[in-house]
Amino acid sequence: MSILEVVSGVLMLAGALFVLTGSVGLLRLPDALTQVHAVGITDTLGVGLIILGLAIRAGPTLLALKLLLILAILVLTTPTTSHAIARAVSRYRSRPWKDGQGRAP
C-alpha cells in the first residue's frame, strides 16, 4: 500500500465523518437556521475531502480533472444555496428559535 493510497483513505474517511456529523445535525437541531449552521459547513468540507481523496486515488488522469471540476462547482454552489436559504428564513420568520421552545418533530 503506497503513501498516496493511505492519504486518499484518510481524506475519504474524514470526509465521511464530516458528512455523518452534518446529517445528524440536520436531523437533531430544532430550526432551519440552526440546521443551516450544521449542514452548510460540514457538507462543503466533507464533499471537498471525499472528492480530493477520490482524485488522489484516480491519479493524474482526465478523471481527476473532472473530479476537481465537480469540486469547484460544489464549492461555489453549496454556500450560495445555504446563504439563499438563510436569507429567505430571515425574511419570512421574524423570530428565530430560542431555548425552551421545544424541538422539531
Partner: protein, 93 residues
C-alpha cells in the same frame, strides 16, 4: 473497503436528510434537507462509479447532477421568496 465505508456513510446521511425532508415542519427545512440530499446523492454516484470499476462514465453524470441540483434549488427558493407563481407575497409558506 474504504469506498464501502464512505458509501455507507453517504447512504446513512441520505436517509437522515430524507427523514428531515419528510418530517420538517416548514418549507425551508424541507428545502435545506433536499439540498443536502442532492449533494450526498451526487457524491454517492461518484463513489459507486469507483466501486463499479468504471468511474469515467459516472463522473459525467455527477457533473450534470451538480449543475442541475444548484439550478433547481435556486428556482425553488425564488418561487418561495416570491410567494409562488401566483398568490400572497408576504405570507410565510
Amino acid at each position: 473497503m474504504i469506498l464501502g465505508i464512505v458509501a455507507g456513510a453517504l447512504l446513512a446521511g441520505m436517509g437522515m436528510a430524507l427523514i428531515r425532508a419528510l418530517r420538517g415542519p416548514g418549507a425551508f427545512e424541507r428545502v435545506l434537507a433536499a439540498s443536502s440530499f442532492n449533494i450526498k446523492t451526487l457524491l454517492f454516484i461518484t463513489v459507486i462509479g469507483f466501486v463499479a470499476g468504471s468511474p469515467v462514465d459516472y463522473v459525467d453524470i455527477s457533473i450534470m447532477y451538480a449543475v442541475i441540483s444548484f439550478i433547481s434549488m435556486v428556482a425553488v427558493l425564488r418561487c418561495i421568496e416570491h410567494g409562488g407563481f401566483t398568490g400572497d407575497r408576504d405570507k410565510e409558506p
